[in-house]
């Protein structure tokens, strides 16, 4: 009997939403306790700041340029490698329960297997997972949660926020107390909400396994991704009126706009509502209209969703303990990307490589039987390192197609194994607007180079000192005193950034 792996992901969760990372709004005692026993990573970045490319990186251990999911709506190739397959081949029982999103959700022709299982009342296998049970942010769509809810509790299906508007764009409709976009009062009973459903289904799958089986279970919560529509019964936990504004929010509009103007021009263009470069941001919402109270309410609702996830994880950990598996289970907790969360007056996500979207919560509590010690890792790591980590836990070599390395156990281990840099990519081409950037984070700097696109001529960039400017307010790309440093960072970026796999895979849906 070997080590078992509980891989927990959330969707669009900021680093600072966990108590162990300094968060003060959501109470997250379960994950905080896991972090206290394990390894907490302070500089973990995704290789893409949107869902499908990032989740494909977790599964394949490859960067988007290699696995080919270069933006949302590009399906991961059917024959893409999968760490779940590696583990299954080694005898692991494998499952993914919750949000997968390796293939598009908007699937009018039912072409993608991910969307077909619930229709056929089957549960995989797919991409190395013997059990594939899916959910997303609400009750719509061809996934298991939506079908379960429609079949068992049809009266609550329409209580969720409508994620898309009548034109099938991401909805800008305001709700809640303040009219904040994607804030909503959802009267669904808590026990039917997708967070608890994901935990319930995870427990059910684990309970189905013989005690001696080794297993890899990816428990994938759709929250705290917008819409911010947690069960209304739980909203009173946090009074939004008492929530402090995030540190990254610049209250003074003229100062906010000065900071935005020092960044490449698509930042201000989006803020003013002149350019929406990506489908994930509501087309009809203009960030400059965001009020402080709206931001407080969204922050509070987001925190409620984080608390519900924490409690759901607690139930799953209790179920694991009840099976006597406690000492043999590795727990890894992370998310696919962050959320702007009011930084610079912005919300949601897009081609903005700053901490709100790139700095992720990442915690690894190795199984007690591994005998490792608690640590904090400050060196840069990436989600690309997860797949090799799962292999290492299982006692397997990393597959040759994996591009990362097993996560370091501490900073000394990181230094010894060359964890110097982490790279993040963005590519989008939508309705005549193309944005392309490549980012390197190393030596306490974040450096982004813009490739030619609709709003950029290829000379623009961003350069931030994470120590002196943790909120990335001062873009030092054009600072002559930093020209040599910038050159070194860019040279290192281009030395390590794989070329995009060609031919470019087609965008087959918006998301």
């Amino acid at each position: 009997m070997g080590r078992k792996i509980l891989f927990i992901t959330t969707d669009q969760q900021r680093y600072d939403t966990l108590g162990c990372n300094g968060g003060t709004i959501a109470r997250t005692p379960v994950i905080d306790a896991v972090a206290a026993q394990g390894i907490r990573y302070e500089r973990a970045h995704p290789q893409s700041v949107v869902c499908m490319p990032s989740r494909s990186t977790m599964l394949t251990g490859q960067c988007p340029s290699t696995h080919g999911v270069w933006m949302n709506g590009v399906p991961l190739s059917e024959d893409a490698p999968s760490v779940a397959e590696v583990l299954a081949d080694a005898g692991y029982r494998t499952a993914i329960i919750g949000k997968p999103h390796f293939e598009p959700f908007l699937d009018a022709f039912a072409r993608f297997p991910e969307n077909g299982f619930s229709r056929a009342a089957t549960f995989g296998p797919h991409r190395g997972f013997e059990h594939f049970e899916s959910a997303t942010h609400g009750a719509a769509g061809p996934l298991h949660y939506a079908r379960w809810l429609a079949a068992t509790h049809p009266e609550v299906v329409n209580m969720f926020y409508p994620v898309l508007d009548s034109a099938l764009e991401v909805n800008a409709m305001g709700g809640g107390d303040t009219g904040a976009p994607q804030a909503w009062k959802n009267n669904i009973p808590r026990e039917w909400y997708h967070t608890d459903w994901v935990a319930d289904r995870t427990i059910a799958w684990l309970d189905s396994l013989p005690i001696d089986d080794d297993w890899f279970c990816w428990m994938s919560f759709p929250d705290p991704h917008h819409p911010w529509d947690p069960p209304a019964s739980e909203v009173g936990r946090i009074d939004w009126r008492e929530v402090p504004l995030p540190a990254g929010y610049i209250a003074d509009a003229s100062e906010r706009e000065r900071v935005l103007d020092a960044k490449p021009r698509h930042w201000r263009a989006w803020y003013d509502g002149r350019m929406v470069s990506n489908y994930e941001a509501p087309l009809e919402w203009k960030p400059s209209t965001l009020t402080a109270d709206q931001l407080r309410e969204v922050t509070a609702l987001n925190a409620v969703e984080c608390e519900l996830i924490d409690e759901a994880i607690g139930r799953v950990l209790a179920a694991i303990a009840s099976r006597g598996w406690d000492d043999d289970v590795d727990i890894i907790f992370t998310t696919d990307h962050g959320e702007l969360g009011g930084d610079f007056g912005l919300m949601f996500k897009g081609p903005y490589h700053v901490d709100g979207l790139m700095r992720l919560p990442l915690i690894w509590r190795p199984a007690a039987s591994a005998g490792s010690t608690a640590a904090t890792v400050t060196r840069p790591v990436g989600l690309i390192d997860l797949a090799p980590t799962f292999c290492a836990i299982a006692g397997l070599p990393a597959a040759p197609w994996m591009e990362g390395k097993a996560l370091p156990l501490d900073d000394g281990d990181a230094d010894a194994r060359g964890f110097e840099r982490v790279l993040t990519e963005w590519d989008s081409e939508l309705w005549g607007v193309g944005v392309h950037l490549r980012t390197i984070t190393r030596d306490g700097w974040v450096c982004s180079a813009y490739l030619p696109g609709t709003a950029h001529d290829g000379t623009e960039g961003e350069l931030y000192n994470l120590a002196d400017d943790p909120l990335q307010r001062e873009n030092r790309w054009a600072d002559p005193a930093l020209a040599a440093l910038r050159g070194d960072l860019l040279a290192d970026l281009w030395d390590h950034q794989p070329a995009m796999a060609l031919p470019l895979r087609a965008v087959e849906a918006p998301v």
Partner: protein, 131 residues
């Protein structure tokens, strides 16, 4: 809001051969993944998707000389739709198939357009396998 999507693919078969399939309104379901049934009455075609949803269409153009087929989906979710399939002779016993989708709302152009990308790949596969 209006949007357009275009997919093209080069096929190593003569244009006339490819057009014989791509231009046959009754055969779409044989090369468009996710369409399982296709019936034509006059200038009206009804396709059925793999989700079981029937989708009525009006055939606008079926031009054997230009090798152009155009149609529009008439379900109410579309304020506008036009699909265009062009088979262009490249003069070397190969051809270029261009499958364009215009739609309002534009998101539907992407949703339908994703299917047309897969259809282009499947058309190529079938045509080149039949050599």
């Amino acid at each position: 809001m209006y949007g357009t999507i275009r997919h093209e693919i080069r096929i190593a078969r003569p244009a006339d051969v490819v057009w014989a399939l791509a231009g046959d309104a009754t055969k779409l379901h044989t090369w468009f993944p996710g369409i399982v049934e296709c019936t034509v009455e006059g200038n009206m075609r009804t396709i059925v998707t793999a989700t079981g949803i029937p989708m009525p269409e009006e055939i606008l153009v079926c031009d054997d000389t230009q090798r152009r087929f155009q149609y529009r989906i008439t379900t109410p979710i579309f304020k506008h739709h036009r699909g265009t399939i062009d088979v262009i002779d490249l003069g070397d016993e190969t051809c270029l198939v261009v499958y364009s989708t215009e739609a309002d709302p534009r998101t539907m152009a992407m949703v339908i357009g994703g299917g047309t990308a897969a259809a282009c790949r499947e058309l190529k596969r079938q045509m080149e396998a039949s050599v």
